[in-house]
């Protein structure tokens, strides 16, 4: 009533505008539960139909079992399947185990805090760049063997199978290096939601040893919170293509790589075999997940006696120390391999067994950088577009999805994560088949849309938590003062959530930069990103050039993460100095300290 008439009309206009907007959006939200299942159905049809011989785009118009016969006649098929299972399950198990070791041995220590700070950049680095680093580290002419060369008196690199080995051990190592940080970060988030201190105190007061407390009290509470991430890791490890091309077995290759090779073969009959292979891979991944979940149940019931048996355990500090050493050793190796990549990009001559390059120069950068501009541009434009769209979509879903029924909400979240839980090779092959049939492949926006399938879930995942922790009372206050939902959202809620929003953007960029298959499958070979270039170069012989691409692969996400930290700070500075309402806002913000951080510091 104190308002003048002019402001009241403008607020009325805003309200009607906002209500129309909100109405449309609220209608739009009902499309979402159907969008993703539709996409999944298309993806499934895109591999199931060709797997049984029906692919009109290539002139196959009748159903048959020929693709399966061709698949089964592949030399070394069983080796391929077994190695794929071994590396995928092995990498997941090892990563989970190491994550557990990390938690138990270093919770609330200096290492824990250091890890929380050093892991995000490590996580932002594309898998392929890290795999290249591991090759530079572990191959017979790599850094480890150069260091050993003097004491072992090696004049030439040893004739050892350390990378591209038939068992895929090098691949497992590279995957573990990349997945442990991911699981650890998920675990750190889960820990912040669990009253660990209390559980430990209770356990100790009952006389349980440190280790027993963790295993019997804390872990059973924590594990369900990271189960989804473990499943994502499992699906990823079983169907990874780019890392496998760089460091995996090649005689025979792993099943997903073989599928890609079939798909790219000029013989159209092999396109059908690729579909059959993709279906097989899908079944394998499904089977592994089912077995994993079943094993969990069996373990839970089988270990019940042990859990409740009252065995207190003895203190084994040696275990804790060695766990800590193991974990920090792993982190150090990951960082060393990345540093070696940087050194290679600046070296012109670096022969075995020199530990440092004999000729350090900028020549590689000067010579090859101009050729890199185009893939760099594609990488950044695709990544930025996807992550902006991904964040906008996530915000939309977070704002409106609560209007849906609980059942719909749950199915939405499930389908969001589906691209991450399905083997990439199978899902993308299924999406590509209709794309090719409709001549939609080979466009920039198709590539970006395929990236979005993988970028969006991560953006959403990273925003769920801040959105839930946001205190609705700020918005209520804003609504009372402005009378407009849109203005409240833009002026109160968004500025308060600016930091997580920028982090989600940077995360989206990092995810998109790392993607290999979506670019290859949807781009019809016309679009190259830093990652597709690096993977292609990995089969060549020029390590400087390869290192150069790997360095750029690392720089892009790092720069965006840097911006994600810097921009909200700058904008909040401007906000507080320019706006009149800033006083109220900043005081609100000071009071609003996220509970996540407070437990962190406790």
């Amino acid at each position: 009533m104190i308002n003048s008439t002019s402001t009241s009309t403008s607020s009325y206009a805003a309200r009607s505008y906002s209500s129309r907007w909100a109405y449309l959006a609220s209608r739009g939200v009902y499309v979402i539960p159907w969008l993703f299942p539709l996409l999944t159905a298309i993806g499934l049809a895109g591999i199931i139909l060709p797997a049984f011989g029906w692919l009109p785009a290539l002139g196959y118009n009748s159903f048959s079992l020929a693709p399966w016969q061709q698949l089964l006649a592949t030399p070394g098929l069983w080796t391929m399947i077994l190695t794929t299972l071994f590396t995928g399950v092995g990498a997941t198990l090892l990563s989970l185990l190491l994550t557990m070791v990390f938690l138990i041995s270093s919770w609330n220590t200096r290492l824990w805090k250091l890890t929380g700070r050093t892991l995000p950049p490590l996580l932002a680095i594309p898998h392929s760049a890290l795999a290249i680093g591991v090759v530079f580290l572990l191959s017979p002419s790599g850094i480890v063997s150069r260091i050993l060369a003097v004491p072992m008196d090696w004049l030439h690199p040893p004739d050892l199978l350390t990378v591209n080995d038939p068992w895929g051990l090098g691949l497992i190592f590279a995957l573990v290096l990349k997945e442990v940080p991911f699981l650890c970060l998920m675990l750190i988030a889960a820990v912040s939601q669990t009253p660990i201190e209390r559980l430990l105190t209770t356990g100790r007061s009952l006389g349980y040893s440190h280790l027993q407390c963790w295993l019997k009290l804390v872990w059973p509470l924590l594990y369900p919170k990271i189960r989804l991430s473990v499943m994502i890791v499992l699906a990823f490890s079983l169907s990874v293509v780019d890392v496998s091309l760089i460091i995996g077995p090649n005689m025979p290759p792993l099943l997903p790589v073989q599928i890609l090779q079939w798909q790219q073969d000029p013989d159209p009959a092999l396109a059908l075999a690729a579909a059959a292979g993709a279906l097989l891979l899908l079944l394998l991944v499904g089977l592994c997940m089912a077995c994993w979940l079943q094993l969990e149940k069996v373990l839970t019931s089988g270990l019940r006696g042990w859990l409740t048996g009252g065995y207190r355990g003895r203190s084994r500090s040696i275990l804790i120390t060695s766990g800590r050493l193991l974990f920090s050793g792993l982190l150090v190796l990951a960082w060393i391999s990345l540093i070696v990549v940087v050194i290679w990009s600046f070296s012109w001559r670096w022969r075995f067994p020199d530990i440092v390059p004999s000729d350090i120069s900028l020549r590689a950068w000067i010579r090859f950088f101009p050729g890199m501009l185009e893939p760099l541009q594609t990488t950044i434009t695709v990544a930025l577009t996807c992550s902006v769209v991904g964040v906008l979509l996530s915000v939309f879903c977070l704002e409106y999805c609560h209007r849906l029924s609980r059942w719909q909400q749950r199915s939405i979240v499930f389908f969001f994560y589906l691209p991450l839980l399905l083997p990439q090779m199978s899902f993308l092959l299924g999406i590509q088949t209709p794309l090719v049939a409709l001549h939609l492949d080979g466009y920039w926006w198709t590539v970006a849309a395929c990236h979005l399938l993988y970028v969006f879930p991560y953006c959403y995942l990273s925003l769920v938590d801040p959105w839930q922790k946001y205190d609705q009372r700020f918005s209520h206050a804003g609504l009372i003062l402005s009378g407009s939902r849109v203005r409240t959202f833009l002026k109160v809620k968004l500025p308060m959530l600016i930091s997580p929003l920028f982090t989600a953007l940077a995360l989206g960029v990092a995810v998109s930069t790392a993607l290999y298959l979506p670019t290859v499958m949807a781009g019809a070979g016309r679009y190259e990103t830093l990652t597709t270039e690096a993977v292609a170069l990995a089969s060549g012989g020029n390590r400087r050039l390869l290192a150069l691409y790997a360095v750029m692969q690392m720089l892009v996400p790092m720069i965006f993460f840097g911006l994600a930290i810097a921009v909200p700070r700058l904008s909040s500075l401007r906000l507080s100095s320019l706006r009149l309402s800033s006083l109220r806002l900043s005081s609100l913000r000071r009071n609003h300290s996220p509970p996540k951080r407070s437990t962190h510091e406790s």
Binding site: S141, L155, M251, Q264, P266, G525, E528, G540, G541, N542
Partner: protein, 414 residues
């Protein structure tokens, strides 16, 4: 695209007409006067090409080649207003399958590839299915610098007459590179190679087929090991097992003596270069006689490496550029190819500091100053031990490629 569809059917028909009469004359190319009749047509092509974008699908695994094409793109843009985009592929086969898929899907215009770098099997697949545009080779002004008599592989691709459906871009021959710091006297036959490798295990290997250098190594071994190599000029028949038995016996004996005991193989011939640089291998294979010099210049190889070929010679061929039938920028593709076979572009390509790929042009047809430059380049580039001209063996019938690759995978992939 609109520009293209307007001017194109006419020139295409004229080209067709011209080449039909040319074929009636039998000698593929004789007089320079034929060219002048076409300057007008060529001017039309140049006009039509203006502003078009050419997607050139070419192997992108070598920085030198990529840089060379980057240079070509800059020049083409400056001189002819043609935008050349190098689509880097790690294998050309997917591109071939894409053209086939486009044909099956009825995408007869606006295809995704405008120039394909290919030869042998891939050319035969596209040509026999009518998926190539042409013949167009002889209407390119720079075609006059090519002498099929001097370089027969410029008009015959793996035994298949080219008939102007593709244009030779460079010459290739299987060569062996070795490090004189590790090996004093390199083996000059397949049998010598086996006994050398038995004595010095782990120093030799070859790229895993279906890498084309790997497959060429198999063909080379087959030619040297069987009594009747002429058999390979005809298609594969029922006698495949009998004919190839000496090869498998040889490889069964050779593999345990190879690098990593033959359990894994390098993915490509260029990957062998860094293994030689590390001292893991003493030998590398290449299809480019200038590879050793280029590798030394690029810091990829020690300057102790030399090049040799086997006593009876090694397999050689040409690699070609072709235009798919559904290309959306045929005029610009022709302008690009014509530029790439110009003396200027070819000399630059043959420069080991740039790429080191031997030219398809004949010295006798070049201008005196170009001739001189070529001669100097050859002298500087050579890393061959002796200066005697090396013998070139003709490629087996293209049928053998697939048969050998499949048999190899069946035997050695466990």
């Amino acid at each position: 695209m609109i520009k293209n569809t307007k001017g194109y059917p006419l020139t295409a028909m004229l080209t067709l007409l011209f080449t039909v009469t040319l074929h009636a004359d039998v000698p593929l190319y004789t007089e320079h006067t034929e060219h002048t009749e076409h300057t007008d047509n060529w001017q039309e092509t140049l006009n039509a090409a203006k502003g078009q974008t050419v997607y050139m699908n070419a192997w992108g695994g070598s920085a030198n080649i990529n840089n060379y094409l980057h240079w070509a793109a800059t020049e083409l843009r400056r001189r002819y207003d043609v935008k050349l985009r190098h689509v880097k592929v790690d294998d050309i086969a997917p591109v071939i399958s894409r053209v086939i898929a486009e044909k099956n899907a009825g995408r007869n215009t606006g295809g995704s590839a405008d120039i394909i770098w290919l030869n042998g099997e891939n050319f035969r697949t596209l040509n026999s299915n009518g998926l190539l545009y042409g013949p167009f080779a002889s209407r390119l002004p720079n075609w006059r610098y090519i002498d099929p008599k001097e370089k027969p592989t410029t008009v015959v691709d793996f035994g298949e007459p080219v008939n102007g459906m593709e244009v030779p871009w460079g010459m290739a021959q299987l060569v062996f590179i070795y490090d004189t710091a590790l090996v004093s006297k390199p083996p000059k036959t397949m049998q010598e190679l086996l006994s050398f490798s038995k004595k010095n295990p782990g120093l030799f290997t070859y790229p895993a087929p279906p890498d084309f250098v790997g497959t060429t190594f198999l063909k080379q071994a087959l030619i040297e090991l069987i009594a009747n190599p002429e058999r390979l000029q005809k298609p594969v028949g029922d006698d495949f097992n009998r004919v190839t038995k000496p090869l498998w016996d040889y490889l069964d004996a050779l593999h345990p003596t190879l690098w990593r005991r033959g359990r894994i193989f390098p993915n490509s011939s260029v990957a062998m270069l860094s293994l030689v640089d590390d001292g893991e291998l003493a030998f590398a294979l290449s299809f480019n006689p200038g590879a050793a010099r280029a590798g030394i210049n690029d810091g990829l190889l020690p300057n102790t490496v030399r090049t040799y070929v086997h006593k009876g010679g090694t397999i050689g061929n040409s690699h070609f550029l072709a235009i798919p039938y559904n290309s959306s920028a045929k005029a610009a593709a022709e302008v690009t190819i014509n530029f790439l076979i110009s003396p200027e572009a070819q000399l630059r390509k043959a420069d080991p500091k740039i790429w080191g790929d031997p030219t398809v042009l004949s010295a006798s047809r070049l201008q005196p100053e170009d001739q001189k430059a070529l001669k100097q380049q050859n002298a500087a580039a050579s890393t061959f031990d002796n200066k005697t001209p090396i013998q070139t063996l003709t490629e087996p019938h293209p049928d053998w490629v697939k048969a050998l690759e499949e048999a190899w995978l069946k035997r050695y992939r466990r």
